[in-house]
């Protein structure tokens, strides 16, 4: 625990995040062409998709850290799992806010119970439950073990949620990168905002992880002193 927080790496990461965010804003709002039918409204897509991918990355990290905790029983893995879950919920909330803003003018409704929307919402609820659960267990060791178990359950639940509702009618545009439906002139904006969000994820993760490690250390010292 002797490393200095925040380190030089954090400063570099912070600068990278700020720069790439600025570039992403420019690319998405100015450089990318205006969409023919949706107009400027479509520009929210670059942030919506990037936040979704980044949120999923965070949840996958939570799963890996939860597994690692159950095997290694090292508190650092629990700190990482907590940081990833919190940040994942934040990114997924961004997805769930930007989605309806776009959907109201295009679909005429804020929300529809289509597979992609429903599973994103359930995913957000699952990890909100994870964070809620953590609040009510005081002993740090038990909290870590229990939330690791729940993190694994939550992550494995995601594909099952998807398969349960996939036969529902889907309004959501299919992933454009898979189908190649995104115009080549729009791709740079998406890639850059995706990269900016990934930098943001790593930056936030490190800061949140440091904060949690310091809390841990403080708790340990308090126990020693008291």
């Amino acid at each position: 625990m002797s490393e200095r927080f925040p380190s030089r790496l954090d400063a570099v990461l912070g600068a990278l995040t700020a720069l790439s965010m600025a570039a992403a804003l420019y690319m998405a709002l100015v450089a990318a062409p205006r969409e023919r039918t949706m107009g400027d409204l479509q520009r929210i897509f670059y942030f919506h998709v990037s936040a979704a991918i980044t949120g999923m990355t965070a949840f996958a990290l939570n799963f890996a850290a939860s597994l690692a905790y159950l095997v290694k029983k090292n508190r650092r893995w629990d700190n990482l799992a907590l940081s990833a879950a919190e940040i994942g919920v934040m990114f997924l909330s961004m997805v769930l806010v930007t989605g309806p803003i776009w959907a109201k003018p295009v679909w005429m409704v804020w929300w529809t119970w289509s597979p992609r929307l429903t599973s994103s919402l359930v995913l957000c609820l699952l990890y909100a439950a994870y964070l809620l659960l953590r609040q009510y267990i005081e002993d740090p060791e038990r909290r870590a073990a229990v939330s690791a178990a729940f993190g694994i359950v939550a992550f494995l639940d995601t594909p099952l949620v998807w398969f349960s509702i996939r036969w529902w009618r889907d309004l959501h545009p299919s992933p454009m990168l898979e189908t190649g439906g995104l115009a080549p002139s729009m791709r740079p904006a998406l890639w850059i905002s995706w990269a900016a969000f990934q930098f943001l994820l790593v930056y936030l993760l490190r800061r949140r992880f440091c904060l949690e490690s310091m809390r841990d250390e403080l708790e340990r010292l308090q126990r020693l002193a008291g």
Partner: protein, 222 residues
């Protein structure tokens, strides 16, 4: 195997003598049916369409009550430690508890179902074997993950209040598919269409049953 049976038998025996959770589960399930009857205007012919959803909400609510009691007796009497001394893998505690919880839930479901047949004027004689299958798999899936989460929530500050909050998001695939399967049976019978929801429910039950068996010892207090 012997240990699972012993735990299962113990829980059944306690329940048989006290009838604590079964009474509560039955009563609550029937109350939910009555509340829905008011919420959806009684006497409409669409009751058969609404029945699958209402039934599973009633099952899930009463099942949560039952699951909350799964570890409550041990917790209150400080017997959890004793139970953990079982001379075998601690996963057998999970399996015994899960089987007992499933039996209670199925018993409650049977009674709630009879009430719903009467209250909603359903004609279901021919469909009963299929419904029983769906209730069985759905219940096993519900308790597979419910027993693990009950063991978690009983050891938190919030106790009973926490269980539904963490259980319902996780168990959603079971509820969605169980409602879907019940709906197919009651409203548009097609045994081919029934296969998909039953498969998803079985996969859920096996995945989470195995996972819970493995991680169970980590979530209990030592």
């Amino acid at each position: 195997m012997k240990e699972i049976w012993a735990i299962f038998r113990k829980d059944l025996l306690i329940e048989l003598r006290t009838k604590d959770s079964l009474n509560a589960m039955l009563f609550f399930g029937v109350v939910v049916l009555v509340v829905f009857n008011f919420a959806l205007e009684s006497g409409r012919d669409s009751m058969r369409q609404a029945a699958p959803g209402i039934l599973w909400v009633a099952f899930a609510f009463s099942g949560t009550l039952g699951l909350n009691r799964t570890f409550a007796a041990e917790k209150e009497n400080g017997c959890l430690q004793g139970l953990l001394l079982v001379p075998a893998d601690r996963g057998v505690v999970y399996l015994g508890k899960m089987l007992a919880a499933s039996v209670f839930m199925l018993l409650a479901e049977a009674v709630i179902f009879v009430f719903s047949v009467v209250l909603f004027n359903l004609t279901v004689w021919a469909e009963i074997p299929y419904l029983a299958l769906v209730f069985m798999i759905g219940t096993l899936g519900f308790t597979a993950v419910g027993t693990l989460l009950a063991a978690i929530s009983v050891n938190t500050k919030l106790r009973e209040v926490l269980l539904p909050l963490i259980l319902f998001p996780v168990v959603l695939p079971i509820l969605v598919n169980a409602v879907e399967a019940t709906n197919i049976i009651l409203n548009a019978f097609d045994s081919a269409a029934l296969r998909l929801p039953l498969t998803v429910m079985s996969v859920f039950t096996i995945v989470f049953g195995t996972l819970s068996y493995v991680v169970f010892e980590h979530v209990l207090e030592d």
